[in-house]
Structure formats: C-alpha cells, structure tokens
C-alpha cells in the first residue's frame, strides 16, 4: 500500500513539476514563507513602533521604498511582517477545517445511517446556507473582532466543503475490494479509516487545502479591511488596505502595494492548486 501510494505521489510530483504554472505558484508560496520567516533580515524598520512623524504618508523613496502610512510607518516593513499574518491566515482556518471536518467526513461517510443522513448532512446543509462573510460577521459580532476570531470564523465557513468532500470520497471508496479485504482480516474501523481510506482521500483534499488557503487569505484581508479581523496596528495586508481607503485620492500608492501583495500570493495558491489538481487527477481535460 505504502509503496503504491509513494509511486502515485511520485508520478503526480513529476506531472506537477512539468507544469510551469504550478511550479511558479509553488515558488510564490515559498517566497511568502521565506519573507515571513526572514522578515527581520529584510527590513530594519519595526512595522509597529518605528513611526516617522516627519514622513507621514511619504511617497516611495530610497529611505522608504514603498512609502509610509498615516503614522509614518514604513509600508515595506509592514508588508514584509504582514507576510507572517498572511501565512497564518492561510494555515489556521484551513487547519481548523481539516482537523475538524475530515474526521467528521470520514465518520459520516464510513458509518452512514441515521447520524450521517439526518444529523451530519443536515448540519452541513444548514452551515452551507450561511454566506461565508455573513457567518464571519455574525461570529465577530458575538465573539468580538480580532485576528484569531476571524480565523475561527473563516475556518467554520470552510467546514462544510471539507466534510462533504471527505464524505463523498469515503462513500465512493468504502465498498472497494481492498477495503472489504481489510475488513475481512479483522482491521478495526479506525484503522481502515485512517490507514486505508484517508490516504486515498488525501489527493482530493490536498487540492481543496491549497484552494481554500487562497480563499482564506482573501477572506482575512476582507475582514481586516472592514475592521473585524486584525487590529489596525497589526500589519495585516487587509488592515493596510483599510488605512489606504482614506488616502485613495491623495496617496494612491498606499493601496497599491498591499493589494498587489495579496493578489500575487493568492495567484500563487490558485496556480499551485490548479497544478495539483491536474497532477493528481490526470484524467482532467487540459
């Protein structure tokens, strides 16, 4: 099983590496992680405390290559440190949806019956009825704003997709001969779900994870932009855009750089997600 899955992944890796667009996407994501990790080495400005009141809303110059914001903070430094929040925004909601949604989907799909049909499926249907941004706003209203609450809200919005995808795949797999064979030799349900089914659901989930990360970044930026995500002093790219909104007429570059950064990173995740989809499912029509 292990050798087979390795070869499947090795083949997919080869297909992925042949797709220039996908590789470019992966490079952009690695670039984001690099910037997030090595932020202090890329700029000598502190993103919060270095406030130059003589250079408030300064245009790009050699001292501040991307200009400064309304408190004289270096925009480049805030963007660079903002990569940390963006990375967290990509990972946290998706990790929540994965670790909560996948076990529920596995259980629901494998066990079937009343709990699957009448409880989990209906709950997922109900959760899916809420527009994701509305759900996030509702949670922000009751739990209060803030980065972590925004992450939780976005993660809850992703849950239905993760549960549905896992459940669907499990239902398609659970009556396959190798699963019946595993059951006949006395494997426990937990072992069958984790060792025999989950690895076969992973390719589909991997694509979902990558694309959900792209959505998570845009959602976090959106929530921070409207003021219920990261706080204004936190260098989130969405918060930067919120600041920029007030200076669109006089200092348009304040809005340009954070927006470009978000677009580039989301493009990276989308290209990689697309590449993964094609690599893991070669039947997809090009």
């Amino acid at each position: 099983m292990n050798r087979k899955s390795q070869s499947v992944y090795a083949l997919a890796f080869h297909r992925f590496m042949r797709n220039k667009q996908a590789v470019l996407g992966a490079v952009i994501i690695l670039g984001l992680v690099f910037v997030a990790v090595f932020a202090p080495f890329l700029t000598h400005y502190d993103p919060i405390f270095d406030q130059d009141y003589n250079a408030v809303l300064a245009s790009p110059s050699s001292a501040h290559i991307f200009g400064t914001d309304d408190l004289g903070r270096d925009t480049f430094a805030r963007l660079v440190y903002g990569a940390r929040l963006t990375t967290a925004a990509a990972v946290l909601p998706v990790a929540f949806a994965f670790f909560v949604g996948v076990p529920i989907g596995l259980y629901s799909g494998y066990k079937g019956g009343f709990i699957d049909q009448w409880i989990i499926t209906r709950l997922v249907d109900a959760l899916q009825a809420f527009p994701s941004l509305m759900l996030a706003l509702a949670l922000a209203a009751v739990l209060g704003g803030g980065f972590l609450n925004a992450m939780l809200a976005i993660g809850i919005g992703f849950l239905p997709a993760f549960i549905r995808i896992t459940r669907g795949q499990v239902i398609a797999l659970k009556n396959q001969e190798y699963i019946l064979a595993a059951r006949s030799i006395g494997c426990s349900n937990l072992r069958i779900a984790l060792v025999h089914i989950l690895p076969n659901v992973m390719p589909t989930l991997l694509v979902q994870i990558t694309l959900a990360m792209a959505t998570a970044i845009i959602s976090e930026a959106g929530l921070s932009y409207i003021g219920v995500g990261a706080s204004p002093e936190q260098p989130s790219w969405g918060s930067l855009l919120r600041t920029a909104q007030s200076y669109l007429v006089t200092q348009p570059w304040v809005a340009a750089f954070p927006g470009l950064a978000i677009s580039l990173v989301v493009l990276g995740f989308n290209m990689m997600g697309d590449g993964l989809r094609r690599a893991l499912d070669p039947k997809i029509k090009q």
Binding site: W118, R122, L123, D125, A126, L127, Q128, A129, F130, P131, S132, L133, M134, L135, L137, A138, L139, A140, A141, V142, L143, G144, A214, I218, A221, G222, Y225, I226, G227, V228, L241, A244, Q245, L248, V249, P252, A255, A256, P258, G259, I262, S263, L264, V266, L267, N270, M271, D274, K285, Q286
Partner: protein, 318 residues
C-alpha cells in the same frame, strides 16, 4: 409537482437547523447577553429590563419557540439601537443589494460566456490561454482592492464615475447606473472567473459528445454547432453555479458595499456589528441564509425543468 413538493419538504429540516443556529448565536455572547448589549456600566435595573425584553429569563427552548413564532409571523424584532423594526431596515436596504447582485451577475455572465465558449471551441490555443489567464487573475485579485483601483482610475484620475454613494433607480435612473458601474464591475470580474471555468469545462465535455460529432458530420457550420446545439446542453450545469453565485452575492456584497458606501444589506450588517445591534445582525443573517436555501431550491427545480433527464428520472423514481 411531486418533485417540487419533495424538494421543498427536504428544505424544512435545513431551515429549522438554520433557525436554531441563528437563535443560539445570541447565546454565544460571553457572559450575560443583556450586560454585553448594555455594557458593564449599565444599572442592574436596566439589565433586568433588557433581560425581560429579550425574554432571557425564560428557559432556552421557550425562548426559541417565542422567537421562531414571531419570525414565522414575519416579525424580526426591533433594532437595539433605535427600536426601528428590523423588517423595515431590511426592506430599505434590500433593493440596493439586489440591484448590485444582479448587476454583478450580469457583468460576470457578459465576460464569462464569450470567453468560456471561445476557450472551449479553441482549446490549447492563444485565445484559450489568454482566457484562462484572465480567469486566474479574476480569482486572485481581491474584488475590494480592484474596487479601490477602479475608484482611483475612473473616479479620481478620469473623473467619469462617482467614487462612492448610491442613487436609487426610481430617483434618477442615469445616476443610479453611474453609481453602480464600478461596484458591479469590481465584483462581477471576480465572479466571471469561476463562471468562465465552469462554462469552458462544460462546453468541452459537450463538444466531445456523439450528437455534436453527428452535427459536424452533417456539415453544419461551427457557429450553428456551438450556439444551436452545444450551448444549450453545456449551460445546464452552469445553472447550478449561477444559482449558487447569485445566492452568495446577495449575502456576499458586504465589502463592496463598504468600499463604495452603498446603503445595502451588507452595510446594514456591518453597521449593526459595530453598533452591537445583535437583534439586527441575527435577523439579517437568518434572512440571508433563508434566501440561500430558497435560491438553491429554485435552482434545483430549474435544473429539473431544463433537463428532461433529471425531471423524468426523478419522477420515474418517485
């Protein structure tokens, strides 16, 4: 008819769960909801009066049934800010959001339909790659940033369109059109990306079917094959995507309305969140979820209506 009844019946448990989730939202408030609403400095009398007003002194299940009975009678409660009826607030804000949602959907369709068809008709050509690139860009650019860039270019630099604000259609149709162009283009561009991909893949699949090969073999022109034969069938799965998209737009224009300062439904929710007007938030969320459920029902029924295979299949099974 049976299909319609079955589909509506299947939505009842979902609607019931939606209502329970929305009702429990208020219970998620940390501490006593009445104190949270009034603030820590509120007098015990005021808190008690608020508890009474919200019915918090009753058992939870009684509170739920009191609330849902009112909702089913069409009473969504009163705003905690000024006591205005939430029904009135929502009805005032809905027209702008519906107009924006339909406008954005139209823009999405106008971009996606030609690009999707072209991509599928000429796969792996320059045109296809260009359309795929546009679609990828559309999915990646945050629509609120695109909106800001549109304001800079068209309102600030060129001065041809207003930067923000909304004029109702019946007050001044020309100004109304001007005020919604930027928001619908910014939002519609993003939506077009998803629709374009859907149309492309659906068209590609249809173009490979036997009946299209027969149509080509008969010597029909490419245009007739594409528009007369393939498009109709290719659009069937697109209906679902469009329905989901439209439902999402009705609840998802929150940020667009915020950037362009449009007094729509999303703006109402944001304002209510900041004013800690939980009753309005609760009702607005409920209404948007109910919208989604009903649009999904409508899409399913439309799907069955346009595709006889589904309709007859379902009737045959039932």
């Amino acid at each position: 008819m049976r299909v319609i009844i079955k589909r509506i019946a299947s939505a009842i448990p979902v609607l019931a769960l939606v209502s329970i989730m929305v009702f429990l939202m208020l219970q998620l408030l940390p501490g006593d909801p009445a104190t949270v609403i009034l603030g820590e400095e509120a007098t015990p009398e005021a808190v008690e009066a608020m508890r009474e007003h919200l019915g918090l002194n009753k058992p939870l299940i009684v509170q739920y049934f009191d609330w849902i009975t009112k909702v089913l009678q069409g009473n969504l409660g009163e705003s905690l800010v000024d006591g205005t009826s939430v029904n009135q607030l929502i009805m005032e804000r809905l027209p702008a959001t519906i107009e924006l949602a339909l406008g954005s959907f139209l823009v999405a369709l106008l971009i996606a339909l030609p690009c999707g068809i072209l991509s599928a008709a000429r796969p792996n050509t320059f045109a296809d790659h260009l359309c795929s690139f546009i679609s990828m860009i559309g999915m990646s650019i945050p629509h609120f940033w695109l909106g800001m860039m549109c304001i800079i270019v068209f309102a600030v630099e060129l001065g041809v369109l207003p930067a923000s604000g909304y004029v109702p259609f019946f007050d001044d149709p020309a100004e109304n059109l001007k005020s919604i162009i930027l928001p619908v283009v910014a939002t519609g561009f993003r939506e077009s990306a998803i629709l374009m991909r859907m149309i492309r893949s659906s068209m590609l699949e249809v173009l490979q079917s036997d009946y299209i090969r027969t149509a080509k073999a008969k010597g029909l022109s490419e245009m007739t094959v594409l528009f007369g034969h393939a498009l109709k069938n290719a659009m069937i799965p697109v209906i679902t995507t469009s329905g989901i998209m439209l439902a999402g737009l009705l609840g998802g224009l929150v940020i667009t309305e915020s950037i362009f300062n449009i007094p729509g439904y999303g703006k109402l929710v944001i304002d209510s969140v900041f004013n800690r007007d939980f009753i309005t938030v609760q009702s607005a969320i409920l209404v948007s979820a109910v919208f989604v459920v009903f649009i999904n029902i409508a899409v399913d029924l439309l799907y069955a209506f346009v595709d006889p295979r589904i309709r007859l299949g379902k009737e045959g099974n039932s």
